[in-house]
């Protein structure tokens, strides 16, 4: 990880671990752990977008939530600027929360149905005492509503009066009204129709440029990740197996899982459909409770060799800023691709 250490990192994640205990039996003893996030490290530069891509259960959502301390970490550190996020007391954390926001996937369940939009968006302003009174609050609310592509008169309506895309605009407005510096977008556009999805992606990009935001953009959709990210981290069973610039990940993927993922993504580019030989991975995603020994991907890897089942691969820097967790990349095994 040392190769990308830069002064202007807004966020630094250092060996973050999150295990969920599974309890059972007579005295609800801990029987096992779901290893949702296992020793994840990366940095995000100010004003950049880090895309996290992976399949269900790979830990991408837990990663985002743990970074914001919405769920307590098991181990590791997260630094926001130079502030150790996990070491903050309640009051300090409360203050810090205005700087770190999250937008969720489902715009139907993440808005309080009993509050009008103005309250939903303004609530946090009042809570954090960022405004003196209601009039000032309304000014800020109206301002952000318009920026997010809603009409001022819609501020007094209730969430059920909005479509999915508009609700997601409300969620974005609610996150951005506090002037955050860092926003976690957790599958923010996944529940939306294609034509609405593009509107929201454009809005997120506009806001990022206008307000100088830094995003952690979590998605399972490779084409969305490719469009919005500067850096990309590919997660598999709690680990980041490959990390690099967007170009490095999409043009010259080095991890067999990244390769397979890119190859499996359906495309409507006919040039590609005609020439493209698809890699189809065998089997299902293993359970994160008992991840496979050695390299966690070895049970599905088309290049797996005996060593892969025994030894855990280390992060190998293959190019500046591009690291891969694979025995092929580290040169421990050789294969004919």
């Amino acid at each position: 990880m040392s190769d990308t250490t830069k002064q202007d990192a807004l966020l630094r994640v250092d060996n973050l671990v999150k295990h969920f205990p599974i309890r059972g039996g007579l005295f609800k003893q801990v029987k096992a752990h779901v290893r949702a996030v296992d020793h994840v490290s990366f940095e995000i530069e100010r004003g950049k977008v880090l895309g996290i891509v992976g399949e269900s259960g790979c830990g991408k959502t837990t990663l985002g939530r743990t970074m914001l301390r919405l769920t307590p970490p098991t181990d590791g550190k997260v630094y926001f600027k130079d502030i150790d996020v996990f070491a903050q007391n309640k009051e300090e954390m409360h203050k810090l929360r205005t700087k770190m926001q999250i937008i969720f996937q489902d715009p139907y369940s993440s808005l309080n149905p009993r509050l009008p939009v103005s309250e939903i968006i303004g609530e946090a302003l009042m809570q954090h005492k960022l405004v003196e009174n209601k009039t000032e609050m309304m000014d800020r609310v109206m301002d952000i509503i318009e920026k997010c592509g809603l009409f001022p008169e819609q501020a007094f309506r209730y969430p059920h009066q909005f479509s999915g895309g508009q609700r997601q605009r409300i969620c974005i407005a609610r996150a951005l009204v506090l002037n955050p510096e860092f926003v976690v977008c957790d599958e923010t556009v996944s529940a939306l129709d294609v034509s609405i999805q593009s509107q929201i992606i454009n809005l997120l990009k506009e806001m990022q440029e206008e307000l100088g935001l830094t995003y952690l953009f979590i998605s399972h959709d490779l084409s969305v990740i490719r469009f919005i990210s500067d850096q990309v981290g590919v997660m598999y069973l709690g680990e980041i197996v490959e990390y690099g610039d967007k170009k490095q990940i999409f043009d010259t993927p080095r991890h067999p899982y990244t390769e397979a993922l890119l190859s499996a993504a359906p495309s409507f580019d006919f040039e590609k459909i005609r020439t493209h030989k698809r890699i189809i991975l065998a089997g299902d995603i293993p359970s994160p409770v008992n991840p496979p020994s050695g390299c966690r991907f070895h049970t599905r890897c088309p290049y797996a060799q005996p060593l892969c089942a025994e030894e855990v691969p280390e992060d190998t820097v293959v190019e500046p800023g591009h690291r891969v967790r694979c025995h092929i990349a580290s040169g421990k095994i050789t294969v004919n691709r």
Binding site: D193, F268, I280, L281
Partner: protein
């Protein structure tokens, strides 16, 4: 020369009469399905793609739904007028369907083999033992490892991909002539989706089945279909051979849809968007339902609804602008 269509849908109208007005979920929908082809239906939520297919299976709940008109011709029978017996003989036997959520469409309290065997016993004159043997056989065909053991499992013990394989096994158990797949891979992960799509393609060739494939995912539709029909607000707006549709889309909605989805080759800073929202089906705009969002809107679009017309031998579209261009090209 194209073969005779195996299924013909003519002017299908499936409406829902609700307190807040009539929802025309499928409005004057006409299309043919040919033997051994895959017809893709693509559109956003509420465009009527599922209701169209539920109508073919006569699965729309009535009320609130009502079949207001049209014909669905299959094997010389008009499904819309068929007796309960005739429909039972077709449904699950000659036309079968797989759904998006494999967990809710499998019965949680029956073992996998029992559920597949039930479908076989209803439609074929076999005893339970033979039906169960056939069920295990089907599980093997859909690539389930250790099918004898999985056959005795309950659905909850299976992963999402495995459940969808079980659904496919059940749907194909009676060797149907048409398989309707309603968003079969939407709930699955990309790598699992790739497995299931490949399986469906292999089985389709083995069984010589026609497939109606419904999805909102343009990438999936491009890779699976021979022909594609695009639906918007209960109507077909464009229907063409897959490559033709994706390389030279004609309807402004199709064009917008393709531009707004980032593909693996999209570059640039912003995505092209279709302005506005998908209209509420009980308050549809006058004329062409797409006109408030259309960048090429003309006066006629606001007043008259365009019908689906032949643009070429392989393409149909419903758009005044496309009609005009066609006339210009004739002169």
């Amino acid at each position: 020369m194209r073969k005779q269509p195996i299924l013909q849908v003519k002017n299908l109208k499936t409406y829902f009469h609700t307190d807040s007005g009539t929802v025309k979920a499928a409005d004057d929908v006409s299309f043919d399905v040919y033997p051994e082809e895959t017809l893709g239906i693509v559109g956003e939520s509420g465009c009527g793609k599922s209701i169209t297919c539920m109508s073919i299976m006569q699965l729309v709940e009535t009320p609130p739904g009502k079949y207001e008109g049209g014909e669905i011709l299959f094997d010389g029978i008009d499904i819309m007028k068929a007796s309960k017996r005739q429909i039972m003989d077709i449904r699950g036997n000659q036309i079968s369907m797989i759904f998006q959520e494999p967990m809710t469409s499998l019965n949680p309290v029956f073992r996998v083999a029992d559920q597949i065997a039930e479908a076989i016993m209803v439609h074929q004159n076999v005893n339970k033992k033979d039906a169960e043997e056939q069920a295990v056989d089907m599980l093997r065909k859909v690539g389930i490892p250790n099918p004898e053991r999985v056959a005795r499992d309950f659905p909850f013990a299976l992963s999402g991909g495995m459940r969808q394989r079980v659904m496919i096994a059940m749907a194909l158990a009676c060797k149907p002539k048409i398989l309707i797949a309603d968003e079969p891979t939407t709930a699955l992960d990309v790598t699992i989706q790739a497995q299931v799509l490949q399986l469906m393609n292999d089985l389709k060739d083995d069984y010589q089945t026609s497939v109606i494939f419904i999805t909102h995912d343009l990438g999936v539709i491009a890779e699976m279909s021979d022909r594609v029909m695009v639906m918007y607000a209960g109507k077909i707006v464009e229907l063409a051979d897959v490559e033709e549709l994706f390389t030279t889309p004609k309807h402004p909605y199709t064009i917008g849809l393709m531009k707004s989805k980032p593909d693996m080759s999209t570059t640039g800073d912003r995505l092209t968007v279709i302005q506005g929202n998908v209209p509420n089906l009980n308050r549809l705009p006058s004329g062409c339902a797409f006109h408030p969002r259309c960048p090429y809107v003309m006066d006629i679009c606001k007043e008259e609804t365009p019908d689906l017309r032949d643009i070429s031998a392989t393409r149909k579209a419903a758009c005044w602008k496309v009609f005009q261009e066609k006339e210009v090209s004739y002169e």
